[in-house]
């Protein structure tokens, strides 16, 4: 019977590989099957500061002991001749969408999973894909030929197993692994429980509370026990431990309308005063409202997230409003109320997030006796036009010029790193 084989293809040291591949001085020396032919290069969050964090490192840099999330100063102590470059997020994203397009050309059933990973599926046995390993190799070769980036591919009977076999492919010469259905108990059950992808802290609980060392041990735990401890996740854990997964591939995964919009920022220092935190809240809210307006949507529930100093502790609280809105004037007072209710006003604030959900499309305008709503709508349309034409920082609120303002700094970054 013809079934689908699922694959997960991920790029090796994606950000670092993008940097190496785009520098012609390394082109002649690089070999596809010898990653030591790459220079020892790292992408560091802020190369000017030794306290900056390593975001990505080539395998050659890793051989010197350099690892992701390490401080730059420490990495330079390990290998002083390290090539250090700043991030170019926009470039990585541009490369990312093109690599995903190459995957889609070979496999129409494709779904991007992260910036450097994509799932795909193809029928087997079939005439078109008669040799799964050869098909995977074709993809790997195309990515190398077009982008000079190495990739690893795990093939398996479902998505979760593809993710697990991909982890194996990273340790395998050639970088391609195919897990057959009948091999799954032996291959999967021998792995330590920490390697069960997607469980996060739950893996630790399986170890300490259930005394499970391997995935095979997890498979022996009765599903009722798992359900009692983890709720619905108990069923997922049990299913995965038996090598099963029900996820399909959704080629239109990113086309679905948003369920909500949110923005988060980590502050450069701890904020201690209400008015400073309020400035950041307003800036984030403006961005959320801009995206709502672009999507022609408005929301009924507003949420505020605060993360405390040392990035430990905090809260996420929401408030439901009597009607849908997408204007900062209506949402800002609600956010301040949430802040006053849930923040003690003393603990330092290190990260703030603002979200709006329970969306609906706004075709109609809710008029008001007290505010000239059409005028306000016109104002925001003008503001949006100015921003789209002249950039986000061409027109800003005066409070964004105060020391607390993060907008100008944020506008130069994507995902917190230099664009």
């Amino acid at each position: 019977m013809t079934k689908l084989i699922y694959g997960l293809c991920d790029m090796q040291s994606f950000y670092a590989s993008c940097e190496v591949a785009s520098r012609e001085e390394f082109a002649a020396q690089r070999k596809e099957f010898d990653d030591s032919s790459d220079p020892a290069l790292v992408v560091a969050g802020d190369p000017a500061r030794r306290s900056g964090i390593i975001l990505a490192a080539t395998p050659t840099a890793k051989k010197f002991g350099v690892s992701n999330a390490m401080r730059l100063g420490e990495a330079l102590r390990l290998y002083p001749r390290l090539l250090v470059v700043r991030p170019h997020m926009e470039f990585y994203l541009q490369v990312s969408v093109r690599i995903q397009e190459v995957m889609r050309q070979l496999f129409p059933l494709q779904e991007q999973f992260s910036v450097d990973e994509g799932f795909f599926a193809f029928p087997y046995p079939s005439h078109l894909f008669s040799d799964p390993i050869a098909v995977a190799r074709k993809l790997q070769q195309r990515i190398w030929d077009q982008f000079r980036i190495r990739s690893r591919i795990g093939l398996a009977p479902n998505k979760w197993m593809a993710k697990m076999s991909n982890a194996q492919a990273k340790k395998t010469p050639g970088g391609i692994v195919w897990w057959h259905e009948e091999e799954i108990p032996t291959l999967l059950h021998a792995l330590p429980v920490e390697e069960m992808w997607g469980l996060k802290k739950r893996a630790e609980i399986l170890k300490t509370e259930f005394n499970a060392q391997t995935i095979g041990d997890v498979a022996k735990i009765p599903i009722g026990h798992l359900r009692a401890r983890f709720g619905v996740w108990g069923e997922v854990i049990s299913r995965w431990s038996h090598g099963e997964d029900h996820s399909h591939i959704n080629p239109n995964s990113y086309g679905a309308p948003h369920k909500g919009f949110s923005h988060r920022t980590t502050l450069p220092r701890d904020f201690y005063t209400r008015h400073e935190v309020a400035v950041v809240i307003l800036e984030l809210l403006d961005e959320v409202c801009y995206r709502l307006r672009r999507a022609h949507q408005s929301g009924r529930r507003v949420g505020l997230g605060i993360t405390y100093e040392k990035l430990s502790g905090g809260f996420w609280r929401m408030r439901t409003l009597p009607q849908h809105t997408n204007t900062p004037e209506e949402l800002y007072p609600e956010l301040l109320r949430l802040l006053d209710q849930h923040w003690d006003g003393v603990t330092g604030v290190r990260a703030v997030s603002v979200g709006v959900d329970q969306l609906q499309f706004t075709e109609a305008l809710q008029l008001s006796f007290f505010v000239d709503i059409p005028k306000r709508k016109g104002l925001y349309e003008t503001v949006d036009q100015i921003h789209e034409r002249f950039g986000e920082t061409s027109l800003i609120r005066a409070v964004s010029l105060t020391k607390a303002g993060q907008l100008r700094d944020r506008s130069e970054k994507i995902g917190g790193h230099y664009a």
């Binding site: 910036v115 996820s247 399909h248 990113y254 995902g415």
Partner: protein, 105 residues
């Protein structure tokens, strides 16, 4: 989303808003209509039909490529350095690059 039915990976991924926007822009660009490339036969046939229609002053139906969808015009052709069509409403210049077909009516 209920993690128990459907695509659990959709609820577990983190995507930067800039990345999502780029993916959707890319998809939109990919779906934009492309000017079809005519085969030699088709091009020769258009050439023949054009010269005949101009010489005889006969009514034709021409199809032109447009981004939003092809447009069809009916009328009489003339050529004086530029190809023009005289329809019932007006006279229009025809861009030969966008010409997809010419038929006698």
């Amino acid at each position: 989303m209920n993690i128990n039915d459907g695509n659990i990976f959709e609820s577990m991924r983190l995507v930067l808003p800039e990345h999502r926007r780029l993916m959707l822009d890319w998809k939109r660009q990919r779906n934009v209509r492309q000017l079809p490339v005519l085969s030699e036969d088709e091009a020769a046939q258009i050439h023949y039909a054009l010269s005949e229609a101009i010489a005889n002053g006969s009514r034709v139906r021409v199809t032109l490529y447009e981004l939003q969808g092809d447009i069809v015009l009916e009328g009489i052709l003339s050529f004086t350095g530029q190809l023009r069509i005289v329809t019932e409403e007006n006279v229009q210049i025809i861009d030969i690059e966008r010409l997809l077909s010419v038929e006698q009516i």
